[in-house]
Symmetry: C2
Subunit: 223 residues, 2 copies
C-alpha cells in the first residue's frame, strides 16, 4: 500500500507529515497513546505546529481517519481496476458485460478488506482503533458510517452483476462485509491463528456463501 | 444480562465494584478515559483502593476483560441451556441426539454474539475496545485468543452435530464467528443502520450460509 504522504499533490509538508505520524503512533502503540505531544515528537515538529493544523486531539484523529479512509478507498479503486484488467478471470461463469469481471473485482476488494497482506494488516489495526473510538466520537462515527454505506452499495451492485437472479444482493452485501470485518479483526488480533492463508480461504468461502443469502428476512437455517 | 457484581459468591465488595466501574467508564467514555483516577471516582473509592487490587492500569484492564469474558461465557452457557430446554425447536430437521437441539443452541449463541439485544450491545462496545487494545497489550490479547479458541471449538462441534456430513465444520465455524464479529461491530458503531431486526436477519443468513462452506481451502466462488 502506498505511503500516506503520497497525497497526489506531490507535497509532503506539515499536515500530511503529521497525519502520517498519527497513524504510525496508533499502529505501534494504540490510539490511547496518540496525544498531540506524542504525534509532534514522532513527526519531528513542535506541539504548536500540530495545533496549527488541528486545534484538538479529536480533530487530529478525525483528520487521520478521513485520510486513512481515502487511502483504503483509493486502494479499492486500484483493486477494482486491476480486476478489470486481469486477462484471465477464474470466475469463468460470471457475466462479462462490464469493463471488468465483477467477480474478480469483488474478490480482489474482499482480499484487501480482509487484510490478507501484511501492510494492510498494519493499517487495519489503526482502522480498528478508529472504529472502536467512533463509539464515543461522533466525528469518527460519521466517517465510518459513510465509508461503510458506500462499500455496501458497491458490494450490492457487484453481487447483482455476478448473480443477476440474486433475491437479496443488499443482505448478501451486508453479510459479506460483516464476514470481512470479522476476518480482519481476527487478522489483527490473533495473527498466529488467522494466517494470511486461512484468511484467504475464508474470503473464498464467504464469496461462495453469498449465493445462499436470500432477500428480506430469511426464514431460518432451513433453506 | 446480569450485573457484573453478581459473581456468584454473593459478594459485591471492593474488587468487583471496581471492575464494574471500569466497564461503566469504558462503555460511556471509551477505554482512553479508563484511568485509575476515573475508575476510582466512578466506583466511589480512593485511588489507593484501586491500586490495592490492581497495581497498574494494564492490570486493571486485564481484570475487567477477564471478568467480561467470563460473563459472556456464562451467558453463552445459559443460552445453550435455554436452547436445550426449548420444547419446540424451529430447526425440525436437525438431529436430536444431544441434550438439546444443536441448531437452536447455535442460533441462540449467535444472536447473543451478534449483540442483537441492547444490553449486550452496551457490553459489546466495551469488548470492542478491549479487542482493539489487545493489539498493543499482550495480557488482553491472551484473554481474547483463548476465548475465541474455545468458541471456535464449540461452534465446530455444534455444526458437525447439525450437519453430520459437513466437509468443513472448522472453516464453517471460523466464517460464522467472523460474520457475527462483523455484525456486532456494525451494531456498536452504526446502530441506525444495523438495527436489531437487520442483525437478526443477517444471523439467520449466516446460519444458512454455514452449509455452503467446504472443508480445507475452497476452490473459489465456483462451487
Amino acid at each position: 500500500m502506498r505511503a500516506m504522504t503520497d497525497d497526489g499533490s506531490g507535497m509532503t509538508g506539515g499536515r500530511s507529515r503529521i497525519l502520517e505520524a498519527v497513524v504510525d503512533v496508533i499502529a505501534d502503540e494504540g490510539i490511547d497513546r496518540a496525544s498531540v505531544r506524542a504525534v509532534a515528537q514522532r513527526a519531528g515538529v513542535s506541539i504548536g505546529a500540530v495545533q496549527h493544523h488541528f486545534r484538538t486531539k479529536a480533530q487530529m484523529l478525525e483528520g487521520a481517519m478521513a485520510q486513512l479512509t481515502a487511502l483504503f478507498e483509493a486502494q479499492a479503486r486500484d483493486d477494482a481496476a486491476a480486476g478489470a484488467e486481469a486477462p484471465d478471470s477464474p470466475g469463468g461463469s460470471a457475466r462479462q458485460d462490464g469493463p471488468g469481471d465483477p467477480l474478480l473485482v469483488l474478490r480482489t476488494m474482499c482480499i484487501g478488506l480482509a487484510l490478507v497482506d501484511e501492510e494492510s494488516r498494519r493499517l487495519g489495526g489503526v482502522w480498528l482503533d478508529f472504529v472502536a473510538t467512533s463509539r464515543v466520537n461522533e466525528g469518527l462515527a460519521g466517517i465510518h458510517r459513510s465509508a461503510w454505506a458506500r462499500l455496501r452499495g458497491l458490494f450490492a451492485y457487484l453481487i447483482s452483476e455476478i448473480e443477476p437472479g440474486h433475491t437479496g444482493p443488499e443482505s448478501a452485501a451486508d453479510l459479506l462485509l460483516a464476514s470481512l470485518d470479522g476476518i480482519a479483526v481476527s487478522r489483527m488480533t490473533e495473527p498466529q491463528y488467522m494466517t494470511a492463508e486461512r484468511a484467504q480461504g475464508l474470503v473464498e468461502a464467504a464469496l461462495v456463501a453469498v449465493r445462499a443469502v436470500e432477500g428480506g428476512r430469511s426464514s431460518g437455517a432451513q433453506s
